[in-house]
Symmetry: C2
Subunit: 251 residues, 2 copies
Amino acid sequence: MYQLYVDFMSQPSRALMILCRLNAASMGQALEEKRVLIHKKEHRTDEYKELNPLRQVPCLVKRGAGQSVDFRLPESCAILRHLCERFSLSDWYPSAGGVEQLEKQAYVDSALHWYHSTLRKGCGGLTFHKVVAMNLGVQPNEAIAVDCKAVLDRALGTMERVWLKDRSFVGGSRPCVADLLFCCELEQLNMFYAPVDGMDFDSIMGPFPEVRAWMARVAEATSPVYEEVHKFLRFASKMRHEKLSKVPAKL
Amino acid sequence: MYQLYVDFMSQPSRALMILCRLNAASMGQALEEKRVLIHKKEHRTDEYKELNPLRQVPCLVKRGAGQSVDFRLPESCAILRHLCERFSLSDWYPSAGGVEQLEKQAYVDSALHWYHSTLRKGCGGLTFHKVVAMNLGVQPNEAIAVDCKAVLDRALGTMERVWLKDRSFVGGSRPCVADLLFCCELEQLNMFYAPVDGMDFDSIMGPFPEVRAWMARVAEATSPVYEEVHKFLRFASKMRHEKLSKVPAKL
């Protein structure tokens, strides 16, 4: 029996939830979602640290007899691949086999590894310094935010120029795990409120219409689960916009 | 026939060169190293962009009849795994098999994915803003350098607390591909010159004696190839130190 520790406000958690909910039958209902609320610092408790010494969300745990922990796995990309191989979800990650299959796997791996220093660094870093930091009582750093915005813009350009060139999805004619990961990362930009943050989803995505069209395709291909796991983010975004619209905009 | 495009001043390139040189016999001499000099911007040429649209070094290329490109793979971590699986280098990356083997693979994958936003971001970012930027005529950003130093310190702490806890190597009793990757990343800190940079390899590693001892073990386990691929870095470090020792230290 597997337990997947996730938070709706964590981008990679949402990617994993989409994969698992869409494939619950193929996985023999062997996986249970467990909530870890990051804003309540539940990932910093001793109990969670036992499960994931890296103290990150998400995390996969396999329990055996008497609920003993038989295997635990941090890092969302490693979890995405492992679940696909463990439960033969070859629509989402190429199955093992000869050299040709190894090469197909390696292609998806390269997309998953590319993500960290590009989309994740840019989008996650920008959101942290523009939106999240002040909620945590951390001083946002404008120089880092500017750097992250440049990283994000380059990453979105690379998506159009490389990963989505001549193909509907990173995975080809249908989405793979990298599509889920990338798309869920970018969704957090909906938190931005232009009059205060100086940018929002529309302005950031403006120069990248192909990325935007691809996001719509990913959402459609994984409907209605996609909207299900983004419901809380939509609500949080709406609340933030409403709250900020009542304070005077920056001069 | 495979070609591996590498630069001695690229950390992941060195990790890949160590793997390939140590296993040249197992790989049937089927891999040739090709030099791409980043400081001469050879990775920005149209010719290289054809091989790797991401314009990164390293990159793996498989050529067929008439030197046609049959397969190309960017991203060092994806290349490390792919070469191990393609040439059955199970000492360096666990071989495929049942659930137990999948879990061993997933463990190494989690280390490879962990690397990007921690060791790579911290060590690579710090080196860029302290050492590399001024050589490229780019204005170093002190705020980002400070952030990267904090990321690096946390990553080194995590190495001692998690990845090297109760084990000689990340891979267990012997090094795996993650050991090569992590160790080659940290070697670049030898470029630092304390009187000018305010820190150097010794001062950064001071609080992390277990990481330092592990680096010595990795170097020993992969000798003499380890020193071979770091020869140019040692030379560049020595040149930089000598040059900087002739300019007045910062007040």
